[in-house]
Subunit: 296 residues, 6 copies
């Protein structure tokens, strides 16, 4: 490459950094909760990419908090022990043995993420909702049906999370909680992320998913919604316009915004840098659910 071209490239790179300046200033010291799951957790290139994205957010002064799932792995290990995975309305039916496996697997995924972040020079601590009794739940009944050790969150105790954030650590949280009798429960990771973001009054809550965002009609790629106010989203729910798979996700987003989170994003975790792009550019990617009183 000629020197002139190299010079141009270098200058171009500096311009990119300069362009990031207002975003860095805007989000300095703000809490960003990231629900990490799906392909972005399975594909190793995507995984490394997410880790780097999070490390960058932290390094320029934001306060990322990671909430992750561990889906596939739980089924895999259940099989080793001769158990079959059973689901009811999208939730894993969780008997005592499955719960034990789930806790093991989620713990392993959790510490794996922590190690990954440490390798990128950011300090991280892996938590379950048991640590500092961070997540208190009560048994969940779906349509009155008992599906075992699956919990509904009734309280997030933010003390430990704040202790870690204030001391420079990224909290990496797996969705396990305890009820008032200190029994262990599995929790839907999306719900956990939402409840934590609300409790921390987060600036942003981003879901890394395996879709490009929220489609009104999943089969019509042109129906992707870039931005929707929480009022509009509620109206769609009421009118029954949101189809099955997407419904709980959108409901969860709506709850988060109504609970105090400023902006909720549904991002495509299969794309490189989706987190960075969302934060550092003014081009909307994925779907944004925002407060109705906010003027975009």
């Amino acid at each position: 490459m000629s020197d002139t071209i190299k010079c141009k490239e270098v200058e171009y790179k500096a311009n990119v950094l300069i362009e990031a300046l207002p975003y860095i200033q805007k989000f300095k010291g703000k809490i960003v909760v990231i629900k990490y799951g799906g392909s972005a957790m399975v594909d190793s290139e995507l995984k490394e990419n997410v880790m780097k994205n999070v490390a960058l957010l932290k390094s320029v002064g934001m306060l990322p908090v990671i909430v992750h799932g561990g889906g596939n792995e739980i089924s895999k290990w259940s099989k080793y022990k001769g158990l079959e995975s059973e689901f009811y309305k999208g939730l894993r039916v969780t008997d005592a043995e499955t719960m034990e496996i789930a806790e093991m697997v989620l713990g392993s995924v959790n510490k794996g993420l922590v190690g990954y972040m440490e390798s990128m020079g950011v300090k991280a601590v892996g938590l379950s909702g048991k640590d500092g009794f961070t997540i208190e739940v009560t048994k969940k009944y779906v349509d009155g049906k008992d599906i075992g050790f699956v919990g509904d969150i009734i309280k997030i105790n933010t003390d430990l999370i704040y202790t870690l954030l204030n001391n420079g650590y990224i909290p990496v949280i797996c969705p396990i909680g305890m009820d008032k009798d200190y029994e262990t429960y599995n929790i839907n990771a999306d719900e956990a992320a939402g409840a934590i973001a609300v409790a921390l009054e987060a600036e942003k809550l981003a879901f890394l998913t395996d879709t490009e965002g929220f489609y009104l009609d999943f089969d019509d790629k042109s129906s992707l919604i870039s931005r929707i106010s929480v009022d509009e989203a509620e109206k769609l729910i009421e009118e029954g316009k949101i189809e099955g798979g997407m419904l709980p996700k959108i409901q969860n987003c709506v709850s988060a915004v109504k609970g105090g989170v400023k902006r909720v994003h549904i991002l495509d975790g299969r794309k490189l840098h989706s987190i960075l792009l969302e934060i550092f550019t003014n081009k909307g990617i994925g779907t944004l659910i925002y407060r109705s009183e906010e003027i975009l």
Copy 2:
């Protein structure tokens, strides 16, 4: 029970509390590292008892730090996955698959202990050596032999432990570390407890074991040593008077005292309240290894 007897009993209880006063004052704010393992971790009555002991230490102002193993469970889960457990000179030969299982199992034990402590009203956080890169290791070779992902500790980073202690949490640590390339390693729990106690300049390091203490001759119950200075212990080692199984344990104790820990105790984890009795009475139980310059 007659009122008079009840009254006597109540008064007696108050006297017990009063007797504890000087010990409470002496150890206030002092760090006590407890290596938790063996029967005390398997038997549920013993387990509850240990948890209560630790909760009491914390509640009267000491700073307990728990380091635990998970031995049996690792073998059990290895078997589910069709792996055989192999040992070399007392250390588990740890290939990648075994390491994965060990991390899962230790993580599960770890969070189980945390939940137990929370149920007793003390705040706890479960860590592995990956969190905050607390334990840095290098690959261990035994007699030049490669036994897989088994680590030698080269550094304890105390930042995270102190952050938790200063904020009122009991750190519960499982013996997993990373090397400089962020690979995961299994660590002998006794070694981990010793290294952590040294790094924290602990007042006490107590090993909960399945023996009454250190016998010069294991078959002769009368050879139990109550107290031994570190110099005397070293002399016994040099003279080859300590038999196989006990040797690494005693060496570990000696290293801890020489590294700066004030007193190291080998306690019988099969006895109820062994921790409390050691701390709150002046009757020696188990074996004490102390600094040679200390006057007993």
Copy 3:
């Protein structure tokens, strides 16, 4: 004693400590004001016992504050100087000379208690209401009658008390105050204890008295009241059912609860460990006056 019995005893003692755990946790960091007087201040065994009780409360993390009287001693020293002790409705008529003696005697008692506590390994500081102008009074008139330098408390300045508590000292306070012209006044010790407990929003206020508690009919030992809500107590006062000697004491307790103290106790200072038993057991001893909205 045989080893087995000794072992049982030791284990029993440990159990006593464990039983205290929930109480220690419950009252950690809570302020407990103790009015110290009567036999418990005269009898040397009782005195040592009270000191130990207080030292234990402090050592397990509570924040005791002592308020004491000095009754008999004042009369004794007055006699040396040729003065006669005169009382009006239970209050010492206090001319300038008597006031001088009272201040000397209370100061001496005060520093004596401080020395005693220091000898038990707890840090203490003796205060009168002059120090840091902690107690501001105005001249008290009883039925319009001038009884000399006897003060009504109009303000407790808590700055100095909090400075001492925050730095680990037990404040030991004698009931002397100043009016706005910095004249010295004697104060009823029960009133001082009540006002200080209210100002500190104390968790508990305990009066060490020479009775077993509050009797509806002093001559009928079976009429001892274990627990009474503040509303019920007020009703008894209104109905004139509380006899002379007890009336001001109960009124003082009622004021304290209504002023914000959570629970007020009338304890028998003649019994060993009455303070400890009240705090560390769930057996009511003496009389408890509690907030009407509290559910026992």
Copy 4:
């Protein structure tokens, strides 16, 4: 008074304040220990004057610490109780009864001074050496003779004094201490002031006395020494040139300077404002004992 004269006077006053500026700046935040006793404690005009002087030092940012005696009053109260005052080499022979009186009297004087200071708008706290075990002593023997509860200071614990200074209080200390068995002892006030000044590394230690300063020949008023280095003072002591009454005082001053106090002053407590004049003017009054390496 004519307006012009009034104006001149007012301007003159302002000039006086301005002249004080460099002294205020120089001593800001510096500890000044004042031994208060003699006429300045008996005469009410002098007393008020000293109190105002101390209040001013405090108000412009210095940190005064008062140490006082109570001589005459102790003898007076001893007499009431039918005891005779006996002295040996200038020290009060102190049996148990006398000690009790001394503690009462000193405590009363102590709180009296505290009240006086509070009346001038400065916060003060009265301490004896028992509070926070501030003064630890051992029994003093003079020429091998047992003179009762008279103590030699072996340790000043500065924690409580610093807690009070850091929170804006003037510590007012009476010379009572405890030995290691928590027995109460009387201490020579000059010795207490010296030991406290050394322990606090005071900038200045000022003795308010009933002389104009240190005379080489007490009968020759022209032999008053204005300034003397600690080396010169020691030489005079060695050469036996200091007469009886003055000897212990000068020895005490020498100890203080050698122990780290920067400057020690012997001031005439019978003169109004002697403290202020010493601090706020560059005219030497009384006698200054200074470090030999200091260049005046």
Copy 5:
């Protein structure tokens, strides 16, 4: 001078200091904003005198904040550059070139004052309203007329001022601000002082002027008003009884008091020590504007 007279003089000086005590105590830690300008800034004796006055306020614990102008100097430097000074209703018409000169001149005056204060042993920092964006303005229009870069204050950002005060510095502020587009503007110094005093909730705001105070009739020296409540002052304004030159000054004082400043003073900067006399004596000098609810 005879010794006796010298002694009297010294004692007199000490009395002056003692008289200042209650004022020192009253204003300790209180913010006093001083508008510095006029003769007191031109005459070198007056200037030194003001600097010493301010140094003394700071040294005895008050928190002075200086706001200054630079009038004559701006005209002088404008002339060097060939510009003519033009005024409209008392405000300098400020084109871009004049603004550049004004910023230079005010900056120079500013750092000159800082150097002066440092020479008196007090720490000072010179600010313009640009530093930390302390003063935000919008373009001022007088009767709709554009007079260039003259600003109306819309916001005082107190962060930087408090940072400096909390770290022991005297802020010295020149009246320059920026609008929301970061353009530089000149501000009337009286307005700046008033707005800063209001934002800091100052105890006092003192204007050093070239008059003795506020005259109802400037030609009648006997019409000087010593004290006037803000209500009375407003009434005079409404009734049109305040003449031209004085009107904006009095309006500014009224705004300050209504904005929360406790007392505003118009002082004669041509008299030595006018600041000290105002603070340290109870003789009114100049004119005091006070809150109507205050009882003098």
Copy 6:
């Protein structure tokens, strides 16, 4: 632009940010002193660019400190006042009038830079060495010749700079100081930057110059030195191989490194982003002077 290309571009930008990550982490919390002058201060595009570079450094967590000159402007304003600019060995001969102008001009440049930074969302404060007596000098003599108010730095007082850094402000410093008599002096800006960097133990000191770096032979563009250890630089000086104009600059760099600054850079201020490129890439630009013991 097609969507795919846009997408690629966006991804490319994200990669640029990720590449910056290790540099951001490496320099977080580190002090970087930038000597700002020459073309970069005159050309408005370059100026804006430098301001943005500095704002970015600050926003990602570094602690930039700016030291600037004001050369051309001083000559310009001198001329307005009819003064001629005279130089001796590269230093401006500075009589009292010229000093007055220099202070005005530097102050104006200073606040201009502050305003610029504020407009970019970073907080800044403009200082001269008079503020907080930050720069103490003594009169400089060049070859024994008196060149007026030109100062040699003898002390940097870092208190004020640290106060500002710790509170989030960028200090912008102009090279003016005072001697011990508080006289104002002009200082060479390069010397000021070097002394400040040494006093702050800066990580980096960067000189923005009007050359590409340090040429061994200025006429031979290929003689540009990219990196040179301080030992090598000193050797070149000793051997007389550095020509006139460059000599004082290199000597200044050598002093800075020997005084404790880790790395000193001579950068080309005429190139856009030279600061960013130096910090965020591993391509050497300009000339680096480094510690001899450092391994590159």
